[in-house]
Structure formats: C-alpha cells, structure tokens
C-alpha cells in the first residue's frame, strides 16, 4: 500500500508482456508472431524480465489442484457494499423514524434505543444448509434457518435478526422483542417467523398473535395465519399464510405450483456454491415437498420429473437447463 505507483514505463512493459502471453495462449499466434515476440524479448532486458514474471504467474496457478482451486477461488463473490452497510438498526435509522417506536411501551422503546453495544451478549450464526434450535429460557425458543445471523440479549428479552431467517416462539413467559432493520415485533404468547430479504423483512405469525411496529406508520396486530412484508417505507398489505404447509422448521422445502426459477432460488439458499439455470426452464412449474437434508437428491428428483438436465461442473457449480439444449 505504501509503495510508490509503478512508473508509466514499467506499466507499459507489463502491459505488453500480458498481451503477448494472451496472444501465445490463444492458439492463434503465427510463426511471424513468435518471431516478433522473440525480438521483443531480446530487445530489452526489462522485456525479458516481464516475460519471465508472466510465466511465473502461470506456474503459481499450475501448482494448485484444479478441483480445490476452482471450488475456492471461483466461489460466488462477496457483496462488499452489504458487508460495510451491515449494522445494527440503531446506527442507520434516521432520527425521525424513531418517533414511531413511541407507540410501543415506553420501557421497551427506551431499552432498544439506549442499549449499549456491549450489552449484545450473544451472537449466533448458522452456515449454509445448517438448521439450529436454541432455548432462550423462560418459555422462549429460537430456530435458525440456513445462513442466518442473530444477536441475542437474554436479559433484555431481545433477539435481533441480522441476516437470514428465524422462528421465535414464546409460551408462558415474559414477552420477547424481535428487532429487524425495518421494524419491531413483540410476541407475548405465540410464534413468529421472520425472514430478511435485501431490503425488506417478511413477518409470518405461526401461532398466537404478534404486535408489529414498522419503522414508519401505525402498529399492526397479526394473528396466526397472517403475514406482512415490512420495508423502509412501512408495512405492505396483510396477507394470508398457509399454516398447514411443511416448511424449513421441519426440514422440508414445499412448493405449490411454484415456477422453477423461484424454486431454485429457494433451494440455492441451502446449498453452498453456484446454482444457476437457463431462461428456457425458468417458467416450468414445481409442486411437492422436498427433504432439505439432501439437496443433491432434490436436484435429481427435478431432472426425473421435469424436462430438465442438471449439469454439475463441480459440486459447487450446478446448471439446470432444458434437455434439448444440453451440449
């Protein structure tokens, strides 16, 4: 970082070496090109040095076992913006929006607002494909779905969803508050499921009732079998939720006439690596219940029941495409 920038001259030589190497590897170099390259290398010592350095770059990659190298270096990229943005709601909420919280009991509101960072006493996260259950004491329990991160403050009876999806159940104990980036949910006797999307959070009430306080707009009361999406600009419409369908809490991925693209997007949450599909198959329909403990099997079930072919370059790189355009 502290080194001075390379001179224009140096950059020019490196640029030329890279161009030469790409030409030679392309398979399209003529005998004349090779003679010109030799001339370039001979004409200046720095040219030859740059050429040797470029060969060293190749050698470094050649020393890596291809499968392990590809799986780790060709992994899906990080979302840097998201990483830097990720923060407790307390740091990103505009002051005006906080007024809405006054509709909650004052004590809860003050607790959330004034909670020192050090009081966030526990952090739990699950890996991709992992499902975890936690007892929070005094009748409360928490389930975490795949790729989920939460902060838990047992003393304040608060759980903060940082990323992913959770289900919070409270029975016969003091109420719990669930914090999300776009609002609060209070549960005194019931179970709620919250899922964080990139800019929204979906709240589903699975049992009992819950008080939902969006960041803007009035509070709502939701009962079992209802769901709502919260965003920065408040709550969407309250919609029904099918309580009978099996879901991740029991290790099942359910689909009711879902298009394949949406189904694969869901499935992809549970698998590390890349899962992609061709546009031709996106609109095919999927119905069924699938066990999440073996996602490879779900993929093979798809290829058995739909006109699709599942190509795996590695276990971490899966493409679903139509049978007719498979190469």
């Amino acid at each position: 970082m502290s080194a001075a920038l390379p001179s224009a001259d140096t950059r020019h030589v490196l640029h030329a070496a890279a161009q030469w190497l790409a030409l030679m590897e392309s398979g399209g170099a003529s005998a004349e090109d090779e003679a010109r390259l030799q001339h370039w290398r001979d004409s200046d010592q720095r040219h030859e040095q740059a050429w040797q350095k470029a060969q060293q770059v190749r050698a470094r990659f050649a020393g890596v076992p291809p499968t392990l190298g590809l799986a780790s270096l060709d992994r899906p990229p990080l979302d840097r913006r998201q990483l830097l943005k990720r923060a407790l709601g307390i740091a990103v909420v505009a002051p005006a929006a906080w007024l809405a919280y006054r509709q909650l009991p004052l004590a809860a509101w003050l607790a959330y607002r004034q909670l020192p960072l050090a009081a966030w006493s526990a952090d739990v996260q699950t890996a991709t494909g992992e499902h975890r259950q936690l007892a929070l004491g005094e009748g409360a329990s928490l389930q975490l779905n795949t790729a989920t991160a939460v902060d838990i403050d047992g003393a304040a009876r608060q759980v903060r969803l940082v990323d992913g999806e959770l289900a919070l159940s409270v029975q016969g104990g003091p109420a719990m508050t669930l914090l999300t980036t776009v609002g609060l949910v209070q549960v005194s006797d019931g179970e709620v499921c919250a899922r964080q999307y990139s800019e929204q959070c979906r709240i589903v009430v699975l049992r009992g009732v819950a008080q939902v306080q969006p960041m803007q707009g009035p509070a709502l009361q939701l009962r079992a079998g209802q769901q709502v999406r919260l965003g920065e600009h408040g709550a969407g419409e309250v919609q029904p939720w099918d309580l009978l369908q099996a879901d991740w809490r029991t290790g099942v991925l359910s689909a009711q006439n879902l298009n394949l693209a949406d189904f694969l997007t869901e499935l992809g949450r549970y698998r590390p690596g890349v899962l992609q599909w061709s546009p031709q198959v996106a609109a095919l329909r999927v119905t069924g219940s699938f066990r999440l403990d073996d996602t490879d099997r779900i993929l093979s079930l798809l290829s058995a029941s739909l006109p699709v072919q599942v190509q795996s370059r590695t276990r971490y790189w899966i493409t679903v495409q139509g049978r007719d355009n498979a190469a």
Binding site: S26, A54, V64, S72, L73, R80, T314
Partner: protein, 165 residues
C-alpha cells in the same frame, strides 16, 4: 516557550480517543467481538506504521478498517469454500494436514492476487489456468467472442503482474 508546534495527536491520544469507537464500528459488522478486537488492533498497527499526519483521524481509521474488514471476510469465505471442497473429496484423494495448510496459504495468496478483477475476467482466467480450457471453450461458456476472451486473459495477466510488483 516552545518553538515547535505541538504534534496534533500522539498515537496514544488517538488510541484513547478512537479505539472503542472503531471497535464498535467493526463489531456491528462482524459476528463476534473477538474478531472486532483483533481487526481494530490491526487497524491501529497499520496507522502506527503509516506515520501519516492526520487531520481527520476517524475518516482515516475507517478507510483502513474497511479494507481490513473486507480482507477478513474474503479470507474467511475462501477458507469456507476450501474446507467444503476438501470435505467433498474422496478419502484417498484427501491431502495430509500439512499439505492442507500449505494449500490454503497458496490459495489465499492467489485470491489476493486476483482481487479487484471483474467477475467475468476472473472466471475466464481461472478456467484457463486451472481447468486448462482453450479460449474457444471459454468463449462458448461465457457466450462471448474469442477476441473478448483474449482481452480478458491479457487483462488478468496484467493485473497479476502489477499486483506482484
């Protein structure tokens, strides 16, 4: 009366005034406070080594801290992908613990070398270097022309050469 202006901030003052602020900032972006403490410590070490005169210490700390944070996440995501891939290998192909460690270090160095390349360029380059695909095969996979692949490869080589200076 002293003739030299007082140093605006001694390192000690900077540490005292901004350390817990930086650690909290990192803490909100990390999964546990030990990593945050480590990264905050590393950030101050960098600051100490850089000997920059600071008019805006927090802005500068934040820039350093962000860089280290992204670095940290990148190394961690590489390590996870690597461990997953190791776990998927048949037992007879699995490397020894020592080889695993060396390989991870080599991969981390290559990952840092490729850092900053556009996604598509990086992918084309890896396919060529690791899988030995021809430019024509890469062009087909990426649905671009052979010329574009050649341009990608030259771009990747140049990037690596510059990074190694």
């Amino acid at each position: 009366m002293s003739t030299t202006a007082a140093a605006p901030h001694s390192f000690h003052d900077l540490y005292r005034d901004h350390h817990s602020w930086l650690e909290n900032w990192l803490r909100r972006r990390l999964d546990n406070r030990w990593d945050a403490a480590d990264l905050s410590h590393d950030t101050f070490l960098r600051l100490h080594a850089s000997e920059q005169p600071l008019s805006e210490p927090r802005a500068y700390l934040l820039t350093l801290g962000k860089r280290l944070l992204i670095n940290f996440y990148q190394r961690r995501s590489l390590e996870r992908a690597y461990l997953d891939a190791l776990a998927a290998l048949p037992e007879e192909c699995a490397p020894s613990p020592e080889q695993r460690c060396m390989l991870l270090e080599a991969l981390q160095a290559l990952d840092a070398l490729l850092d900053g390349l556009p996604k598509q360029v990086r992918r084309a380059f890896l396919w060529s270097q690791l899988e030995g695909l021809t430019y024509g095969q890469i062009a087909e996979r990426l649905q671009v022309s052979d010329r574009t692949v050649k341009r990608y490869m030259a771009q990747a080589y140049e990037h690596c050469l510059l990074a190694e200076l």
